[in-house]
Amino acid sequence: MSHPEAADQTRTALDAAAVGQAIDCLADKLLRKLPELEQLSLIGLPTRGVPLARRLAARISEADGGPSCPLIGQMDITFHRDDLSLRRPAPHVTDVPFDINDRDVLLVDDVLFTGRSTRAALDALHDLGRPKRILLAALIDRGPEHRRLPLHADFVGAEISTTFEETVFVKLKEVDGLDAVEVAVR
């Protein structure tokens, strides 16, 4: 995501209550699928995928009753990006404190747009091991018409209709002090 201050105009697509509902929706879909998943672990993609993964994990352990609290980690994808010839972002911390081999791994991202970040995440994940299955949860899906790669999310909190030129900013309390989804027009 680029800088919000560079935008001419920003509109709020989801307020705090709607973000809460989107996370509820995402958690419900995940819980329904949970019986099929084995040794589920959540890996958040920085920055905002990380608190999102924590919130989802908390919801799963509440619903499931404590002991089956899912494993949780975070994974930087910077070095696997396909736009490094254009810019060199500083990396985030990778901390996956468990073996991902033969597990069902749920990647958690804030926004699914072109699919390029997801592609980088799949490559980065395979440097850590060979999961049994990889799933993707995105709080916001900007819609399949913007996809540039043949990828989709298994779980989506909310769909937002945007033009390709717009930028979506997910804000979460843990990082930004409030919950909101904003759309900026450049």
Binding site: F79, H80, S85, A90, V93, G129
Partner: protein, 315 residues
């Protein structure tokens, strides 16, 4: 976090505090990469790194080669004694030929101060100074200060002793610049012949001392330098025995330090001269951590520089 703006890495003197912070932050990411089973990322796929070492080196050369390979770049190693330098080719011609082969980076070690500046002004490739004479060795200082920050946190007000052959040391010069930019206090210690008073002109946080014992209890870090026989035209101190008795870090001397004082050395160590054998391998020594961190720091530098504007020039 700021963004990287430089084509080359020539010296610490040209870097800002924000540049150093960015390199260290990026190196932290790469340290995670080099600690896992698959130690390679595709960030520099398709780029070419040429290690041009006109002066010998083991550690720095191997470290740059591995750093480039772990970023998926192609690496060519050129040594002074096996290259056309022995046939009298100029540095400029060698550099231009390497660029004609579409080199994106040239890592240069050279005995002449300013050699990497000379190439950087003439080539579109990113030039990385891997040591130029007694001038600068920026990647060493970046890995040394990275190691200190990982161990001590913020270096503001931390007291670093640099002991030994300061006059001939590019490691000392680069470290002094880096430590001053990071807010540390630097005390240089060595015999008068190897440590002129004018070093205090580098900054108000630089002190020059010609004896070691009185400053040991204040040190957070003791950085030892190798006595560089090859850079001395004549003996700069009467005997090795006298040097050891005055400036060698021995167990008795180290007992005067705080128990958590770090011992650092850029290598290669003259064991039993500037540093006692057992201390070099002891609990306070971080010399091998420096080597590991060196790999991560060099990966960060190659990553941030991005191969200069060579690609645009070629297209």
């Amino acid at each position: 976090m700021s963004t990287w703006q430089h084509k080359d890495l020539l010296g610490i003197r040209e870097l800002s505090r924000a540049d150093i912070d960015l390199i260290h932050e990026t190196a932290r990411g790469f340290r995670q990469v080099i600690n896992r089973p698959i130690k390679k990322v595709p960030s520099l796929r398709g780029r070419t790194v040429i290690n041009l070492f006109v002066e010998p080196s083991t550690r720095t050369r191997a470290s740059f080669e591995l750093a480039a390979k772990r970023l998926s770049a192609d690496v060519v190693q050129l040594d002074g004694n096996s290259s056309s330098f022995t046939k009298g080719e100029s540095l400029k011609d060698t550099g231009r030929n390497l660029e004609a082969m579409h080199a994106d980076y040239i890592v240069l070690r050279h005995s002449a101060a300013g050699a990497s500046h000379f190439l950087a002004d003439r080539l579109g490739a990113s030039i990385i100074n891997a040591g130029d004479g007694a001038h600068e060795h920026p990647t060493q200082a970046l890995l040394d200060t990275f190691t200190m920050r990982e161990r001590l946190g913020d270096l503001t007000g931390k007291h670093v002793l640099i002991v030994g052959d300061i006059l001939f040391s590019r490691v000392a010069r680069s470290n002094i610049w880096a430590l001053l930019k990071l807010g540390a206090k630097v005390t240089l210690v060595g015999p008068r012949t190897l440590l002129p008073e004018r070093f205090t002109e580098l900054g108000e946080n630089v002190t020059v001392r010609h004896e070691l014992d009185s400053v040991l209890p204040e040190a957070d870090v003791i950085m030892l330098l190798r006595i560089q026989h090859e850079r001395q035209k004549k003996a700069m101190f009467p005997s090795l025995g006298e040097y050891i008795s005055l400036f060698g870090v021995t167990p008795q001397r180290f007992a005067e330090c705080r128990p958590d004082t770090l011992i650092m050395h850029p290598g290669p160590i003259n064991r039993g001269v500037e540093l006692d054998n057992a201390l070099a391998d002891g609990a306070n020594s971080v010399v091998l951590e420096q080597v590991t961190n060196g790999l991560a720091v060099r990966m960060a530098i190659l990553y941030l520089l991005g191969g200069g504007n060579a690609q645009e020039l070629q297209s």
